[in-house]
């Protein structure tokens, strides 16, 4: 084995171990904050896997969007709703756990079997475009994937507006649980805009 191949192998092993163990931590850890930070680690190592796959652009996009936006959003949300609360006990939690775990394990074994038994039609490595992938992705986005690209932009706009509308506090005039009117004064304080239009 040459050095490059060994390095690749070590990188892959470490990254996939981090992905699996981190993901287990995300779902199993008691503290939700730890989960969120571990999720960031999982995203980072997935980006590392993309780098191994010769896709630096997608890796950077993964870091930018998942770590920089999604994970920070999740941590923000946790900090906003992080209140110590005692969960109500559920009677049949044990059987639920057992059933869901067995379903997941079955699915995993099925998937792995498919992965291992199926014969994949691999293409020859010398066709690989490597560093040119950024240009190729751009070509794809503006030719055969133009419609999905535009739809995605509309989707992002819709999601942005929807998220703002949902997260705004003053959409409800009265409290749902108590029926009392919500004090809007505290929420919507009018502030002097930074660059005012005095006319």
């Amino acid at each position: 084995m040459s050095i490059a191949i060994t390095t690749q192998f070590i990188c892959f092993t470490v990254l996939s171990l981090v992905v699996i163990i981190g993901a287990l931590g995300v779902v199993l850890l008691e503290s939700i904050v730890y989960s969120a930070f571990l999720l960031g680690g999982v995203f980072m190592s997935v980006a590392g896997l993309y780098l191994l796959l010769n896709a630096s652009f997608v890796a950077a996009a993964q870091v930018l969007v998942y770590v920089g936006a999604v994970n920070v959003l999740i941590i923000f949300a946790i900090m906003l709703v992080n209140k110590k609360e005692d969960l109500k006990p559920i009677n049949d939690i044990k059987s639920r756990r057992v059933i869901s775990t067995s379903i997941c394990l079955t699915l995993l074994s099925l998937l792995i079997r498919v992965d291992l038994t199926n014969v994949w039609s691999l293409s020859s490595p010398q066709n690989s475009i490597g560093e040119e992938s950024t240009i190729r992705i751009g070509e794809h986005l503006f030719s055969d994937y133009l419609l999905p690209f535009e739809v995605a932009s509309v989707l992002l706009l819709m999601a942005m507006i929807g998220a703002i509308v949902l997260a705004r506090r003053d959409v409800m005039s009265k409290d749902i649980s108590t029926g009392l009117p919500v004090d809007q004064e505290l929420i919507e304080k009018s502030s002097e805009p930074l660059l005012t239009n005095k006319n």
């Binding site: 050095i3 930018l64 770590v67 920070v72 941590i75 805009p193």
Partner: protein, 372 residues
């Protein structure tokens, strides 16, 4: 415009001179760029800290550091040594793991971003294809570290500071990326080397600052906000938040934050000089100088001149911007958090979007000036 400076190749040749195989030479080479970057970044920080103290002192009619070395040049080293030997305190109710991981997560992406900073045609660590996009992606990791240290400190000021830092960093990343995108649109490449080469035609006249004045201003404002420099230093606003997310930190962990913020400042200044001020390019085109001296362009003198002037020009431009940042620090008052977000979302974002649109239009209309 190849200046014939391939560091890795010459280093490998040098090692092969000792009878080593090329693979072993490669392995010895691998950690060296990282080491070089670390040394460069730390030296840059030392110089910047000294400059900051001296220029701040001058702006306030003080002397500044004077006793440590001539003109106090050893003062930053003394500061660093002090922080190094200070007791490393982890508050009793703090979360030890996250408390330690936070500063590391803040510092490492910043240092990694130095990979793409070119000081000359071949004087950069890795000319990766995604170039400037790597920096944008890496700088988005920082808020995680800030949130982490803010949360782990178990302190209201720290948490508020961390949340503010993350909010600020996220909202200013968008105009930053958009103004970079306008440059990339003109260059047709994300690589920093290509971006500089595209500006090297006619000396100072071909710099991007003339083609992208709005983008330059937007980028500089956003870079200051990303570095938490003074008009935008709300995350560590000492009058309101003690020191923000750094409140509970001491010793070397605090030094990591300190180092990170200064490395980030230098990095931003370097990137401004690369994106808008022609990088390693000399204000007067080298060809003109060669013509003036009646020398052919590939004469050894000109070659050496261009290679050595590259680093000097890049660093000079970067430090000029650092100087402006320090002047701004003593000129502008701190903005409020709502003003900060207003400026980011309601002013810079539309302006940078319009800038991008106009750049695209100009590129179609005048392809010879705005990149083909």
């Amino acid at each position: 415009m190849e200046y014939g400076l391939d560091l890795e190749y010459s280093f490998n040749e040098f090692l092969k001179g000792f009878g080593l195989s090329s693979e072993i030479a490669h392995i010895i080479w691998l950690p060296l760029p990282m080491l070089l970057v670390l040394v460069a970044a730390v030296v840059g920080v030392l110089v910047t800290v000294w400059l900051e103290r001296k220029i701040s002192a001058a702006a306030q009619q003080r002397i500044g550091p004077e006793y440590a070395g001539a003109l106090g040049v050893l003062q930053p080293i003394a500061d660093g040594l002090k922080l190094l030997v200070k007791e490393d305190i982890i508050p009793a109710k703090a979360d030890g793991i996250l408390f330690t991981a936070g500063p590391i997560l803040v510092l490492v992406p910043v240092i990694l971003s130095w990979l793409i900073v070119p000081f000359g045609q071949n004087l950069l660590i890795s000319n990766v294809g995604i170039g400037i996009f790597l920096w944008i992606a890496l700088s988005s990791i920082q808020p995680i570290g800030l949130l982490m240290s803010g949360y782990a400190s178990n302190n209201k000021y720290s948490l508020l500071g961390g949340l503010r830092a993350a909010a600020q960093s996220i909202s200013y990343e968008i105009p930053l990326a958009l103004s970079v995108l306008a440059i990339v649109l003109m260059t047709n490449s994300l690589s920093t080397v290509d971006i500089v080469n595209q500006q090297s035609g006619a000396g100072i006249l071909s710099w991007n600052i003339w083609r992208q004045p709005v983008g330059f201003i937007v980028f500089w404002i956003c870079a200051l906000a990303e570095c938490e420099r003074l008009p935008f230093d709300l995350p560590e606003a000492e009058e309101e938040l003690v020191a923000g997310y750094q409140t509970e930190y001491a010793g070397m962990k605090f030094a990591l934050f300190y180092l990170g913020s200064y490395i980030n400042l230098i990095l931003s200044a370097l990137l401004v000089s690369i994106l808008y001020l022609g990088g390693w390019g000399f204000p007067i085109p080298v060809e003109l100088i060669a013509k003036f001296l009646n020398l052919p362009i590939n004469a050894p003198f000109i070659q050496v001149f261009t290679a050595s002037i590259g680093i000097v020009m890049t660093v000079l431009k970067a430090y000029l911007l650092v100087f402006i940042a320090i002047l701004l620090r003593w000129t502008t008052p701190r903005v409020r958090i709502d003003q900060l977000l207003d400026l980011g979302w309601k002013f810079l974002l539309p302006i940078s979007l319009a800038n991008l649109l106009i750049t695209a239009g100009l590129k179609l209309a005048f392809p010879q000036f705005f990149g083909g």
